[in-house]
Subunit: 538 residues, 2 copies
């Protein structure tokens, strides 16, 4: 059974090794966990539904308290705090489970006829409040796309697959794999997030260097709107005016509900491997990454941890003997205290992998990189989707974890990274209520472009004595850093989307006329503001 | 001096070799050229300007007849017929030459205050009527961006260059080359078309396999609109809502005027070469191309001529002895009558070129390809921008040439190509006035995607006894084939844009709601319809 107040399956737990616990205690201080509310106590708070009856759709809608609790919040730290405190705030008035575009159409008619707000719901993995209902006079119906989870068509010539929008990552891959294909889209939320959600929120996967972001994978599909059905045809490329696909990508449910998604797929690769290289310092490491991507070396994945993330990962790995041995070896080869860990992936034909491996090793070596083979890379691949479970383990020790991410041009990467880390490290100390609190902050770069890269910063802090103060700390960290990001040439999000948490920062990034353009679309397709209000556009 | 009624510089002429002339005469029939009107006679027809005086902008505007004639039409066959017949129809009331964004702002204020229509003008190379003024009560001011032709900034870390929007291809490349960089965008119109025009019309270059289309190269910039200045920041990738870049790309002047263009550039490659392979039949050749691109072989360019294009190119090349020898050799190796010529480009580091060359040759050979080395590829590279001059040579022999292009998914390429070629071959014969006319039709595929490719079809027919009948023939060929394209899963344009000629076909491709989205943007930014009316949206 899926956790109602956290990540993933209840049966799956990660333990933080003792060494990891003492590391955190040393960096952040000893912590005391808060008590989680029970599901029962939260269900008891769910009010009567306000949804008007309608024979056209009643059979599709579940108004039971537990279902409404389970669809009330996503996976942001604020969501966790809300659920675990037992005060999730607003609940949807019901959850619909359509299993076809026609049923989604019925729900849209229902919304318009009865002045009901609709929230599209994929995997509920948003970390920026995409699917949280807002308080208001209108009833709110969450539309869970989970029944639309099938591979509908596979055109092997054109390498285009059609999926129901509610298909989660593992079902996307397993249904394709049966035919010898892969989509290759692996966001960290892969286990639960859905293909429709990826499109609506402009997701990016860990192997975007090979497969592209969802923008490059999304070939067309079907979107049900309040004005009718929008069918986006699949065309490889076109100069026929502005691209409607790009208006749906990132529309976060404000224009309509994606029901069928056509994506560009690839035959399963002959080979795949992940390799780890250590660099003696950040400057060499970052330059190596920039050179790799600007030289168009055919990597499938590239990730660079800064020194603190490298140290943290090795400390939390819990294999002190092995790690100690490796560190000795690295130190002997010049990579000791400030060392930075790079992981790169090779995916493709044997010939391509061999060729790219040769180039990658040469470039790394030119920048003082120490190549360590595939052992740590294998570990990374095994654990690539389990990081969110670690958050659960830390929570029960009294630590809150969250991440902030952006992307910026190369000339600004170090500057913005420094601003973000420094702010996260010191911001709590400027508040009287948290003057003595420390934050453990570390960063990796994980999506690389010739122009720049993403910056993904994790921060860990102790929970306070109360939920409200813990939330206040998070809000302070999140908001001050988000402001820094958009005021310093970063995007408010490279891969998490806008949702409600980032919506206040979007106008700085897009500018007045950029916002005018997006509002023009939203006002045209949804003049009453019934579709996911508060998300994307405040 | 640039030709006023055709392509390129008056000093540059291509001759069609005698063998080429007899080839055409055999395929299409003996032809008799029409007489071209003189520039003087057309200038004498230019009416008084209707532009109201305004001290803010008067100094920027040229209302002389010759300037207005030279900005009245683009390079479509209809444009040529209009100019050469001496009846170009509508002239702009004047041509402005701003040299800064501020001056463009002044022109926009002027347009709004005096109810004047504005047409942005780059190189004037449109083949679909982008820059043709339409008849109406409002005065029309064409805004020639030619003075804004400088490299403004080059960020070598982020590999981003900023150009004035009016910079033509050769000045883009020469200014970058001085710093060791290239944009790598080489549409056939490269000699005259501008970087702003590429953005506004969603252009694609011959080496898009390596460098991407203009969508992938356009990183941001400045657009002056009637609502103010839209600055699109450069961000490598983002999930922050719909992408405003993608609303400007292909907006064809309807939302505003692009003034500064920021593009992603690349260091000059270590190596570049173009290779030619012949295949015994279309099926093997097309499959080889599909396999090359779907296997992600790092080519920079790929082009496949069908059998008739291959035959035509060899016939027009005018080196009968050499070609005869080669054909003998090919025939001996299995590629004779139905043979198809593929050209592929390798660009990059020595290592990458060598690796890709090995893969490409292997795949070609697996599909019965006969590799002939780089000799013909060198010829292609030398002549890559001169094809439009050949059109001039044919015109003076009495032949009209035009092209139609689209893109579609792989499963539909042969079907659509067949429909297009057959229609162009037979359509004239369905009209009483041209029942005995033949059309020589041939095709290449030239932009390749894992999902599909572009289809670029050339057709040659004899001019009629009159300009009006010649135009009628063209319109019949163009319109019936365009209809076939959009009704059979092709885009109305892969690389030429919509303009006025394709606007009637856009609604079939985009659908009602796709058009609603584009209209929403246009109505918001330009509610009076002052900006390039009739283009993109009818």
């Amino acid at each position: 059974m899926r956790r109602w107040n956290g990540w993933g399956d209840e049966q799956f737990n990660l333990e933080l090794p003792a060494q990891g616990q003492s590391f955190l205690s040393e960096r952040v201080g000893a912590a005391k966990p808060l008590t989680d509310a029970t599901l029962e106590s939260v269900c008891a708070k769910v009010p009567e539904t306000r949804l008007p009856a309608d024979t056209q759709v009643d059979a599709l809608i579940d108004t039971s308290p537990e279902t409404r609790v389970r669809h009330a919040r996503g996976q942001s730290l604020a969501d966790w705090l809300a659920l675990r405190s037992g005060e999730p705030g607003v609940f949807p008035d019901g959850v619909a489970n359509p299993d076809s575009s026609l049923e989604v159409q019925s729900l849209l008619h229902y919304a318009r006829n009865h002045n009901v707000e609709l929230i599209p719901y994929g995997g509920g993995t948003s970390v920026v409040g995409h699917i949280n209902p807002v308080a208001g006079d209108r009833p709110v119906l969450t539309v869970d796309m989970g029944k639309m989870n099938r591979l509908i068509d596979l055109d092997k010539d054109s390498q285009i697959a059609t999926f129901g929008a509610g298909t989660p990552g593992p079902l996307v891959e397993s249904q394709l794999r049966a035919h010898g294909y892969t989509l290759g889209h692996f966001p960290q939320s892969f286990e639960l997030s859905t293909i429709g959600g990826w499109v609506a929120s402009r997701s990016s996967g860990q192997q975007s260097l090979r497969y592209g972001r969802i923008e490059q994978l999304f070939a067309g599909g079907r979107i049900e709107t309040l004005k009718g059905t929008l069918n986006i045809p699949t065309i490889p490329a076109s100069s026929a005016g502005p691209d409607v696909r790009e208006m749906i990508l990132g529309s976060e449910g404000r224009l309509g509900m994606v029901t069928d998604v056509k994506v560009r797929v690839t035959p399963l690769p002959e080979q795949e491997s992940f390799h780890v290289v250590f660099f003696p310092d950040w400057d060499s490491a970052r330059t190596a990454c920039r050179t790799l991507v600007q030289s168009r070396v055919q990597l499938s994945m590239l990730r660079l941890s800064n020194a603190i993330e490298t140290e943290t990962q090795l400390a939390l790995a819990g294999q002190p003997h092995l790690i100690g041995l490796m560190e000795k070896l690295l130190s002997w080869r010049g990579a000791s205290d400030g060392k930075c860990m790079m992981t790169f992936g090779l995916t493709g034909s044997k010939h391509q992998c061999a060729s790219a491996r040769q180039e990658a090793k040469r470039i790394c070596s030119e920048h003082k990189g120490v190549y360590t083979g595939t052992r740590l890379g294998k570990k990374w691949a095994e654990k690539r989707f389990t990081m969110p479970y670690l958050r659960e383990a830390l929570w029960h020790l009294g630590y809150a974890v969250d991440t902030l991410e952006t992307a910026t041009d190369w000339d600004n990467v170090d500057n913005l990274l420094g601003l973000m880390e420094n702010n996260l490290r010191t911001a709590l100390q400027s508040r009287a209520e948290s003057r003595d609190e420390r934050t453990h902050v570390f960063t990796h770069l994980s999506h690389f472009y010739s122009q720049g890269c993403s910056i993904y910063t994790t921060y860990v802090f102790r929970v306070a004595d109360s939920y409200s103060e813990t939330l206040a700390r998070w809000q302070h960290l999140k908001n001050t850093t988000s402001e820094l990001i958009v005021n310093n040439r970063g995007t408010i999000s490279h891969q998490h989307g806008v949702g409600k948490d980032h919506a206040p920062f979007l106008p700085v990034e897009k500018g007045e006329l950029g916002m005018l353009a997006i509002h023009a679309l939203s006002n045209t397709f949804d003049p009453e503001g019934l579709l996911n209000p508060g998300t994307l556009l405040e």
